[in-house]
């Protein structure tokens, strides 16, 4: 047994050693279970959980008050808009400071926005700045230059550096973003954008601390691209300007935020400390909540929802989100392999939309009783916008539409055929595996269409990456979709159906729809613009039907409303971690 004792002894020693290496744990005032944070680089953010942390760490020029959706002052204490609606002049607070005490200036915004507009950064939200005059052209120019550089033979640090200087000069001279003095930022737009202030409040437009970034940036001689080393967003390095600051961050383990003492904005932190714990397994998150080690489960995955919601507990909260769950019709004339695509015909699309009993779906399939949707833009979410009615559930009308398209049951076999007697091709329904909710909806839809319209459906689930390839290639007849709005304007949803839009999986193209959106872009009167957008939505939600909306998305939170305070319940669910606190300790100097 001597050697066994040796081996066990050695293993125990190693365990103890590694333990020391791992360090200890914190217990923050508020502990939040969340999906894992991908990045704290504001310009590179995409995910909801990242943006949520950014709202605490950074502050933009202005922001939308989560309770009222009004735009309120951020780093800018005031702004003026020119009479043509194209020039915005922001006046920054003279006392605005970074978390290390450095003064925050208009240049910090300009640099951040330039980063967002660099293809080098591969930022998902670059397009948000494309309304700025010259921005889109600058992005394209830089991308071309980088491509030419990659193909050329002259790869050297000097050549890459000189291209970078040229890029900076070009940005200064062609893009409508100008820091006229330390506290004034002037932005010129190509066209008036009515929701521009809302865009300015978006987290990816947050300023950056230039000296820190500079230390971690270099121009790569191989590609001539600006590279930012991973490291500038680490605790102790990251300099921020929001109500909170980053105290600790361990990869996929925990993140600790505490109030930023240098923050002198309008809404100081009410939270004492907030810890974000990434827990991906839903049952573990719920158990952690039940045992008291988590105060707020900020997003529960589908399989747990119905059981918890229908248990009638007061700490399970179902909140409608600013998003719509839908299925896409393939509008391309043929399938990619040349086969006949019945959904190229708008009458067939309408028939399928009319045949769906959405109320039954939310009651007995998802069992979450989501508000059902007949439009893409969630009704009532945008002030001044009137949603069209959309199509109801009407089987008789559905069959009439299908008959008008030439599909009738001609041989009494319960299935529809065309004039030549050919049966309706099996409907290929595509969705990603791994989501029981979607699988349930797909089966229910297939049954509704089979029984109601007399068509065969093939439910086809694929792994995420393969499903995405099929979506892009148009290799489906009907596919699962869904969309969350980015900013408070109908176009955040309607742009999906524009010809050539990057997210137009349906391959939908309609000249009238594109024209209505273009007219709305040019409209100077806000009410008229909203009417044009409403007409555009009516066109796709009552007549063309590239998209079949099912219901509003809902978000499910778990928290004890008697203990945890500060959670926002308005549609966009713009949670602000700085507001979270346990009842009893109200924090200092608390404002709304």
């Amino acid at each position: 047994m001597r050697w066994t004792a040796w081996i066990v002894g050695a293993l125990v020693l190693v365990v103890l050693f590694v333990w020391e290496w791992n360090g200890g744990a914190h217990r923050a005032d508020v502990r939040v279970a969340s999906a894992d944070v991908f990045t704290l680089d504001p310009q590179r953010m995409t995910y909801m959980q990242d943006l949520r942390v950014a709202r605490a760490l950074f502050e933009g020029l202005c922001w939308s008050d989560p309770d009222t959706d009004d735009v309120v002052e951020g780093v800018a204490e005031s702004w003026t808009i020119s009479s043509d609606g194209r020039t915005y002049t922001f006046h920054l607070r003279p006392d605005a400071r970074w978390s290390n005490g450095d003064p925050l200036t208009a240049e910090d915004f300009k640099e951040a926005w330039r980063r967002l507009l660099l293809p080098d950064l591969a930022a998902d939200y670059s397009e948000l700045l494309f309304p700025v005059s010259g921005a889109r052209a600058f992005f394209a120019w830089r991308a071309e230059q980088l491509e030419a550089y990659a193909k050329s033979e002259r790869h050297s640090a000097e050549a890459a550096q000189s291209l970078w200087h040229e890029t900076v000069a070009r940005f200064d001279s062609t893009v409508g973003i100008e820091a006229t003095d330390a506290h004034t930022l002037v932005v010129r737009l190509e066209q008036p954008v009515p929701y521009w202030l809302d865009v300015c409040g978006f987290q990816t437009l947050s300023p950056v601390h230039r000296p820190t970034l500079e230390r971690f940036s270099r121009i790569d001689p191989q590609t001539a691209m600006l590279r930012t080393e991973p490291g500038w967003t680490k605790p102790g390095v990251l300099v921020c300007n929001g109500a909170m600051r980053l105290v600790d961050w361990k990869y996929k383990r925990s993140m600790l935020l505490e109030p930023n003492p240098m923050y002198r904005g309008a809404h100081p932190a009410q939270a004492r400390s907030v810890e974000i714990v990434p827990i991906e397994d839903a049952s573990t998150a719920v158990l952690a909540y039940e045992s008291g080690s988590i105060d707020w489960v900020s997003d529960l995955t589908a399989e747990f929802r119905a059981e918890l919601v229908n248990a009638g507990r007061n700490d399970v909260h179902v909140l409608p989100a600013f998003g719509t769950d839908f299925w896409s019709f393939n509008c391309r004339p043929t399938m990619p392999d040349g086969r006949f695509n019945p959904f190229a015909d708008a009458r067939v699309r309408r028939a399928f939309a009319l045949a769906v009993d959405k109320q039954a779906l939310v009651q007995s399939v998802t069992r979450l009783h989501e508000p059902i949707a007949t439009t893409l833009v969630p009704p009532g979410s945008i002030a001044g916008y009137e949603s069209p009615a959309g199509l109801p559930f009407d089987l008789a009308a559905a069959r009439a539409e299908l008959a008008a398209a030439g599909w009738k049951d001609r041989n009494a076999d319960g299935l529809v055929e065309n004039a030549e007697g050919e049966a309706f091709p099996p409907v290929e329904m595509l969705f990603m595996t791994g989501n029981p909710r979607v699988r349930g909806i797909a089966s229910a839809l297939a049954a509704m269409w089979r029984d109601g319209l007399g068509v065969q459906c093939e439910v086809r689930s694929k792994d995420g990456k393969f499903a995405k390839e099929d979506l892009r290639a148009g290799n489906f007849m009907i596919a699962r979709g869904g969309w969350y709005g980015d900013y408070l304007d109908p176009t955040t949803f309607l742009d999906l159906s524009r010809t050539g839009n990057g997210n137009n999986d349906r391959g939908f193209s309609d000249a009238r729809f594109d024209a209505l959106l273009a007219d709305a872009e040019r409209a100077t009167d806000a009410a008229q613009r909203m009417r044009l957008l409403s007409d555009a939505e009516r066109l796709i939600m009552e007549e063309q039907m590239p998209i079949l909306p099912l219901c509003r998305y809902v978000t499910l939170y778990m928290y004890d409303p008697d203990r945890l305070r500060g959670i926002v319940r308005t549609p966009r669910l713009d949670q602000r971690l700085q507001r979270l606190h346990m009842s009893g300790d109200s924090g200092e100097g608390a404002t709304p």
């Binding site: 293993l11 590694v18 791992n22 680089d41 049952s283």
Partner: protein, 326 residues
């Protein structure tokens, strides 16, 4: 003297093979990752416009696989550093999905966690498995043998997401003996270690039980008993040493597997270990992260197997080490 020579030949040969093995594994991994469709910079739902998507692809040279692999290999191996072309040696690059972290940082954060759980699990498995194996091996066919074998069968067959969830509900949620999820204190590690140890313990118990039962039939053990040793004394003093050899050769790969992280256990207990990072990397097509973890895993496997061979020679001098085929 000849044993020592054989040993140093073995060690030198294995260490010289290491770069070759790693290079081969790296190339295969990269090829496999390349075949998987999808773009690591894309996320669910939202998709950027064509121009932004193109910029994303070019950012990591995803449009030039050859150049990408060559540059990666040069930086990961330290050749680029030796040549002065890169400031850091053994740089596995930034994670493609988590741009704030380098793959080196992710491995440095995840490996100790997985290693702690893995080594703890192996230690538990060795103790529990040895005891169970000896009980069964001493009296094959007895009720105690049947009971330990049945338990071992359960341990091997029941998947760890079942035992993990059960332990979680029982010990953490109901009895509140240990915290649920997360990492940082010894209590956090207890359940993952236990869960992970079960299949290893069961396997060790079975290996030892059959090895011991065989050894008890050999002439030298019978001679020992004939000379007056009790069954137990004969087993502990003589038979166990030889019966343990199969367990030892199993321990090499088992330790490597346990240390590099069990995805299931890490996910159930929300433990930030390397196994979880690896699977997340594969799902998100995080090419640099997956390649980095595969490299570390392969190196560990080779080194642990080498360690087992050295231990073999130490325990059983009959084995002529350099002569053993590898």
């Amino acid at each position: 003297m000849s044993a020592m020579n054989g040993m140093s030949v073995l060690i030198t040969r294995r260490l010289l093979q290491l770069p070759l093995v790693l290079g081969l594994i790296l190339t295969i991994t990269f090829a496999l990752l390349w075949i998987i469709p999808g773009n690591p910079m894309e996320n669910e739902g939202r998709r950027p416009s064509a121009e932004v998507a193109e910029a994303m692809r070019r950012q990591y040279q995803l449009d030039q696989p050859g150049a990408f692999l060559a540059q990666y290999a040069a930086r990961a191996s330290g050749i680029a550093w030796i040549a002065g072309a890169h400031p850091v040696p053994f740089d596995l690059g930034p994670s493609m999905r988590h741009p704030d972290w380098s793959v080196n940082e992710i491995i440095a954060a995840g490996l100790p966690v997985s290693a702690t759980i893995g080594l703890g699990a192996i230690a538990i498995a060795l103790i529990v498995g040895s005891i169970a194996g000896v009980i069964g091996g001493l009296r094959p066919g007895s009720w105690s043998d049947g009971a330990t074998q049945a338990l071992a069968l359960v341990g091997i067959s029941v998947p760890s997401f079942v035992t993990g969830s059960l332990l979680l509900v029982l010990l953490a949620a109901k009895l509140r003996l240990v915290p649920i999820g997360g990492w940082g204190t010894p209590a956090h590690a207890l359940l993952p270690m236990l869960t992970l140890s079960l299949p290893f313990a069961a396997y060790i118990a079975r290996l030892l039980r059959f090895g011991l039962a065989d050894q008890m039939q050999t002439h030298y053990v019978r001679t020992a008993m004939a000379k007056g040793l009790s069954r137990r004394e004969a087993a502990v003093r003589h038979a166990l040493k030889n019966a343990f050899l199969p367990v030892l050769s199993y321990l090499g790969p088992a330790t490597a597997i346990a240390m590099t992280g069990s995805f299931v256990v890490e996910k159930v207990f929300a433990v930030p270990g390397l196994g979880r990072h690896f699977v997340d990397g594969v799902l998100g097509k995080d090419i640099t992260l997956v390649m980095g973890v595969v490299l570390v895993y392969a190196a560990l496997l080779v080194l642990l197997n080498l360690l087992v061979d050295i231990l073999y020679a130490w325990i059983d001098p009959r084995i002529e080490i350099a002569a053993r085929p590898q």
